[in-house]
Subunit: 148 residues, 4 copies
């Protein structure tokens, strides 16, 4: 029997809750669909780079997690996910208060899943694109200690 | 008169100190040379992903800052630096206690600086490579609010 | 007066015709819209890697040109375009006869344009994704010898 | 018994000779060492982009092949290599007559090999860097039709 939407959400949420770094950033899991995950984040004084924008590493962290979990939605329930590599363009300074990262699956293979991700500032009526990622995620199976 | 090594170190350290996110990670500026910057980090429970390794975003953040500051060492004292884009390969799980990120300048242009970066785990006699980055940094001049 | 669609197509086609390498590959300009360019290619014995698939460099070349020209559609008529950097995932072996590369503009800035690109094999009823690119293109102005 | 240097060179040269696209570019295998491969190329009128420089796709093709073959030197003799993804910065226009691409292995894993590559123009006394790549190569085993 295939996994229900509730079971899928629970599987991702349970792994997300173990990412202590997401809590350290104040990031929250906002949406889980097959092949798509969204994470939200509010700006904090502790997350800045030298000009007062969100640090590129913060933006990258939430888009990477969104891509990783989007990949995980396409994997069997006993598999784990690891980031192999990614590339990100920071297309506008991350100025603002509310941010959303979205990861979507472009191609799900047996051993690797290729994703695209974006980050948006939500302060304006129309979400404003601030970053775009392309990422390769690895399917981990039968690897002790690496399960989601 | 050209900038002394002490002035260079001071210029980078002063900007690094304004990156609140580096403090939030517990990262420290460890070395500044023309075209080369190193940052160190100790593992903390708040910096993990779901399998107990350092989150890819943490590793990325310190390598990005190391590359950005390596680029800044090659820029005029009144210029600021912004990350345009980067790509990172996470070549081994970030398991361990002590980490070092190194950024080096590959090509310094008028408007853009291309860098390479690496992250190492320092727990073993020989530093163990855990990540490799290639990054494009932008030289910001005469942009109010964006100075280092 | 703004450029008509016919003038835009002519501007891109004229530059494409000067890319001798596109002719050497047998690639053809197939579609030009504001922010979108498509290029088609037929497999040839001279374009293979060692296992008989299209060489990754061939796939990359047509997606890079599609992205570069998509970027050029957003630039003033006297500007030239140069590839700053790109990243490509080759998500499936490039086996087949007919291929299409598409470049689309994600964010058009004053000095840089960020694009995404894809390559598809057209042999099946549904185009089959074989590659995905994310690219940074530079706007060249007042640079002698670099005009499109 | 381990492979001799002559056997290693022969294994790479034999696969390179089957890359018809390298011949189509006029590229030649210049050096093979464990973890390092160099390829040379002379500029031709058929390899240009619209401003008269070597097309980014040409530069990318020889650096990708150099990285792929550098990776293959670290693999068992019955394995094949495929490019998973790469990122390249084109740090200077590819103007000139003689070019060299070098691929080196950064990390050789069981299923993936991470490489770095560079392209140089050789027209000047000191080789001039024109491009830098970071690439992920896959080890192919027991896959019919994919052997080197």
């Amino acid at each position: 029997m295939s996994e229900s939407h509730q079971e899928l959400h629970q599987r991702i949420a349970s792994s997300f809750a173990r990412q202590t770094f997401m809590a350290h950033l104040g990031a929250a899991l906002a949406r889980v669909e097959p092949g798509l995950v969204e994470i939200t984040l509010s700006a904090r004084d502790t997350l800045k780079q030298q000009h007062g924008f969100l640090h590129a590493g913060v933006v990258t962290s939430i888009v990477d997690s969104a891509c990783g979990y989007a990949a995980l939605t396409t994997m069997p329930a006993d598999a784990g996910v690891l980031s192999v590599e990614f590339k990100i363009n920071l297309v506008a300074p991350a100025a603002g208060e509310r941010f959303l990262a979205r990861g979507t699956v472009l191609k799900a293979g047996r051993s690797m899943v290729v994703c695209r991700g974006e980050a948006f500032c939500l302060d304006t009526a129309e979400p404003r694109l601030i970053a775009a990622m392309q990422a390769t995620m690895m399917v981990m199976k039968d690897r002790p200690g690496v399960a989601d």
